[in-house]
Amino acid sequence: MVDVTFCVNGREMSANVASNKTLADFLRDDLYLTGCRIACDGGVCGACTVLVDGSPVAACSTFAFEIDKSSIETIEGLAAPDGNLHPIQQAFLKSDAFQCGFCTSGFILSVKALLEMHPSPDDRTIRDWLKGNICRCTGYKSIMDATRLASAMMLEAAP
């Protein structure tokens, strides 16, 4: 077992985690943050994407002990405390960029990391960043549209 302290969605926490536990299992089973989805369980599909210190990671391919002294963002922490959705969430809604929704939290967090690094990404950059997220039902055009819309909304809202 390993003692870890970390910040998840702005809340400081500490825990004692099994050294072979994945971050995905820890978030889902111990913190009940079930927006982190497990699908391929091999770091390929991107459904379990969360942000660790702002970088996208596959929570299913990360040990829970690795988050010690890190800041974690999951889909549950994205909306404002008053319930207003984040611009990326709004853009996904407006663009109909999901159908069953299973992959959506991973896509949204990948887009958040992308737009923090590239506020106005070209299509090639969007494709490169999102090629590690797989959607089985919507197709990718609406997700590309949502990413472009989110970029525009966030740039417009920027001071």
Binding site: N20, G43, G46, T49, S61, L114, D128, G132
Partner: protein
């Protein structure tokens, strides 16, 4: 290394951890995981003379974005920018990629194509240095510290990953001014082991000369490799013919673009 030696069961070093966690999920039992994250200097990228020196903990993303590498070996940055996906690039390390010794992984064929050497600290003999082609001589307890690529400014390379799992290969060119002195082909995926072949040109060639002989060069490079793997995905003969076609296309395109230039 003392922790590794003291382990009563199976121990493993952990760099980015992506390969390790997937191996554990596949049933591989690891009793002690030794996290290398706190070791200083594992993430440095240096240019010493004509040697590019990469710490074993350098991430794939760091290679793709390194200004230092972009200045001396832009083709390496270009080849490495689209590998895997952004999550793997940001977390995965070149050391982990090499030490996994997985034929489907990409950095070993790049290291072989560029003639890299690996530096290890070993439990028995202290420091050890091996060539990239001798990857299978590594002991599990050996701790990879650095990867050194000689003559980096005189080399250019290209990577073909689009046909995995049937094939993946890297092609490198050793330049001498506007001439090419050596062409090297390395492969992993689609073979039973990492392998490479070379064409040493006694009379250095310009890009135009290579373009005129791309078919001959592709034939020679592929013929000098061992027989490809034969499995349910493809026959050895299919892989050999596919490789010859793909290498030929790369040579034709690169020479048309000016393979004589490493910029």
């Amino acid at each position: 290394m003392a922790l590794f030696a003291a382990s009563a069961g199976a121990a493993s070093y952990m760099s980015g951890g992506i390969d390790l966690i997937n191996r554990m999920k596949s049933g591989c039992t690891i009793d002690d995981v030794i996290h290398l994250g706190a070791i200083p200097d594992r993430r440095s990228i240096d240019l010493s003379g004509d040697y590019l020196s990469l710490g074993a903990g350098v991430t794939h993303d760091a290679i793709a974005k390194s200004g230092l590498i972009r200045d001396c070996a832009p083709s390496l940055c270009d080849a490495w920018s689209p590998v895997a996906n952004i999550r793997v690039r940001m977390k995965g390390t070149v050391g982990g990629n090499l030490m996994a010794r997985d034929l489907s992984y990409d950095f070993p064929i790049v290291a072989i194509a560029l003639g890299a050497t690996f530096e290890f600290v070993t439990a028995t003999s202290g420091l050890k240095q091996i060539g990239a082609e001798d990857l299978d001589q590594i002991e599990k307890s050996d701790l990879l510290t650095r990867i050194r690529i000689p003559g980096i400014a005189m080399q250019s390379m290209t990577l073909e990953l689009g046909w995995k799992p049937h094939l993946a290969f890297a092609l490198s060119f050793l330049h001498e001014g506007n001439y090419v002195r050596r062409i090297r082909l390395s492969a992993g995926s689609g073979f039973d082991r990492f392998c490479c072949s070379n064409i040493h040109l006694d009379t250095p060639l310009t890009a135009t000369s290579i373009q005129a002989r791309w078919s001959e060069f592709a034939d020679r490079l592929v013929s000098d490799l061992p027989t490809p793997a034969e499995d349910w995905k493809a026959t050895a003969n299919y892989r050999r013919r596919l490789l010859m076609t793909l290498v030929g296309r790369k040579l034709a395109v690169l020479s048309a673009q000016g393979a004589g230039s490493n910029g």
